[in-house]
Amino acid sequence: MKKYRILLVLFSIVLIFMTGCAGSGSGASSSDGKVTITFMNWAGGGEKASLERAVEAFNKTHSDIYVKQEFVTGDYDTKINSLLAAGDPPDVAYVYEYNTMAWGEKGILEDLQPYFEKSKDVSMDDFIPGVLFNNKGKTWGAGIGPETMVLFYNKELFKDAGMAPPSADPHHPWTWDQFVNAAKKLTVDVNGKHPSDAAFNADRIKTYGAMIPIGFNTLDPLLRSNDGGYVSSDGKTIELNSPDSLEVLQKVADLSFKDHVAPIPKKASTLPDAPIMVQNKQLGMYISGNYDNATFGENGYQPGYAAIPMFKKPSNIAWAAGFSMFQGSKHKKAAWEFMEYMLNPKNIKSMYSDSVWIPTKKSWYTDKEKLKLWTGNSRHSGNYNKVVLPTMLDNIAQLPDTVTIKNFNDMQKYFDDATGKLFDGNGKTSAEKAIKTLDTDKIKQLLDGAYK
């Protein structure tokens, strides 16, 4: 008998452990009758402060709902994947734009269409294109923070060099050659020599003329501008190996390796952040998302704004991360009430006036009163409106492949591997040679058309 008693003790210990591990589900109602919903996001810095204000305002005006924010720093996908695997997803969360459609189809996200139809506050019509994640009559998310690419520059450097600043008109941006020529004039080494001088020392550059931070967001619009791209818009063929695409990749690489006007890409991580470099006159111009304008604003610095340069035609991308509800949510009504609040730009106005994001609603670009609400401040002075408004309203900005192409997130690894051979090396590998290593078989297996 004694033997069994030991087993019994062991067994009960195991049970205690296991119940301890199982944990409790999310979305519990607290004792005072309030429904608690979790809102998970990756906000940091100014975005975090703005979000906190907005959520606090919501909590104050809604006596029956309490929104708990979870700010995840670092690997967001890792965190959310683990929560999903554990069966404990948040109620509402940011979802990376490359995941939103796929997760919707996998049955993780809630279709927002019925909620929109019933809503009095927000309608689906007024959104700028690309903010809603629509596919086959379902809506898997609605962005609240669109972004587009802008050419930022240091105004003084241009003035000192006696040069006209880059074109702010997105219909007629600088051509790539104009961009490179200006960069050459702005680039100076520690001895004051330019790349055109024989004594120029490319290892000791004091001011870089230009920088294209290598990544999907910078390369995609440039590729499109030369009728190239990663994959065709129907998501059926690879385009990164087309001559048009190769030309763009080679010219971007040439900035660093041939013209010596840009930092070597793999060394960029050892340099200060680009906005700081521009402010310190270490960098003349660079392409980045409009979110960098918030960083400039926080640092109290006023950069110049221009349209990103073009190859054959003006082009840009605009996208927003998904703002989505999870099917696992136990309080969908409350979750939608919160989403509805956040989807009204008025309620999160400071996000737009602080220049973290640009608004989601068309009327906020066209209606003068509303426009004033977010651009009538020092962070949107100079050419800001001239650059951003036509980009967003006149179809210059298109949805990036990350949003429209099925399985693009899985393909990106292979694209990065090939482009890495061009950009991460010492400039000895040509674009043609680098892209020849592209694992086209793998990508072809993943090609499965486009959403919509």
Partner: protein, 296 residues
């Protein structure tokens, strides 16, 4: 079995229960689970898809990173382990000598190994910075041109090895403990025979310490084959995948790309590699190690 023996047995089981349960729940069970999912296509979200050996087949024949990761991990291990072991062993010998303030030196050399790795990594990223880093400034005094350290294909592994040597206090402290156990009469015997310092070191210290050196080296080897933090914090696998270590590849596959089944297969391959490498090390070192208590 007497009654007392039985009772003792019962208490014995009870006392080892927490360890056994912990091992089962947190190590054995996940291992079994990962072995099973290594035969599936699982993205952690939707349900498992049984695909048999496909993951393993893809890894060996059709993975763009696998062979490169194996290569760079082995290169790192082959360079790192001897450098760290020789350095920390010599350092232990120095710190075993009778000089004033030796305990201060011991503390100073031991501190790096107990610092959080992230803090150390950030510190060395500053030291290695090509433009304003401490090391390039220092080399500048000797008119040595600035080096790219962590962003250079050739220098990235040596850079990480130098950092690992700086952090080698753990092996050092074990060696130091061992050195204090080497009996003095052996050194006296060398003196009697007219041997000098080098003889003492080579014919007494090294043989007597060989089990400890071996232990340190094996632990170091297993650790370095699982190098992750360096790649994750300092290099992101770069430049040009020269530090795309095996564990970092597993992490990317599991959490960045969401292929948990595939990543589990990769992890099991690493497990097998580690077992083989450790067995080989044991085999080849058999004649190099002197165990005092061993009966041949």
């Amino acid at each position: 079995m007497t009654k007392i023996e039985k009772k003792n047995l019962a208490w014995g089981y009870l006392f080892i229960a927490p360890a056994i349960i912990g091992l089962t729940l947190f190590i054995v069970a996940p291992m079994i689970f990962s072995f099973i999912i290594s035969f599936t296509d699982w993205d952690m979200i939707t349900s498992f898809k049984w695909i048999g050996l496909t993951n393993y087949q893809t890894i060996f024949t059709d993975d763009i990173d696998f062979w490169n990761s194996i290569k760079v991990t082995f290169i790192f291990a082959i360079v790192q382990v001897p450098c760290v072991q020789i350095f920390s062993f010599l350092l232990a010998n120095l710190l075993n000598s009778k000089v004033k303030g030796v305990s201060i030196f011991r503390t100073l050399f031991y501190i790096p190994s107990i610092l959080p790795f992230v803090a150390v990594a950030i510190l060395w990223m500053f030291i290695y910075n090509p433009d304003f880093g401490l090391l390039n400034q220092f080399l500048g005094f000797f008119h040595i041109p600035p080096q790219d350290w962590l962003v250079s294909n050739k220098l990235v592994i040596p850079s990480l090895v130098i950092m690992a040597m700086w952090m080698g206090g753990g092996a050092m402290i074990i060696s130091l403990a061992g050195l204090q156990g080497v009996p003095n009469y052996l050194y006296e015997a060398v003196e009697m025979d007219g041997g000098g310092r080098i003889h003492k070191f080579w014919y007494v210290t090294v043989p007597m310490m060989s089990p400890i050196i071996f232990f340190n080296a094996v632990m170091n080897l297993i650790g370095v084959m699982q190098a992750f933090n360096e790649a994750y914090i300092m290099t992101q696998g770069g430049p040009d995948k020269h530090t795309y270590f095996y564990l970092y590849m597993i992490y990317q596959a599991a959490f960045k790309e969401g292929h948990m089944g595939y990543a589990s297969a990769l992890a099991w391959i690493l497990f097998v590699i580690l077992v083989i490498v450790t067995l080989l090390v044991f085999r080849f070192s058999r004649n190099l190690i002197y165990y005092e208590a061993e009966v041949k």
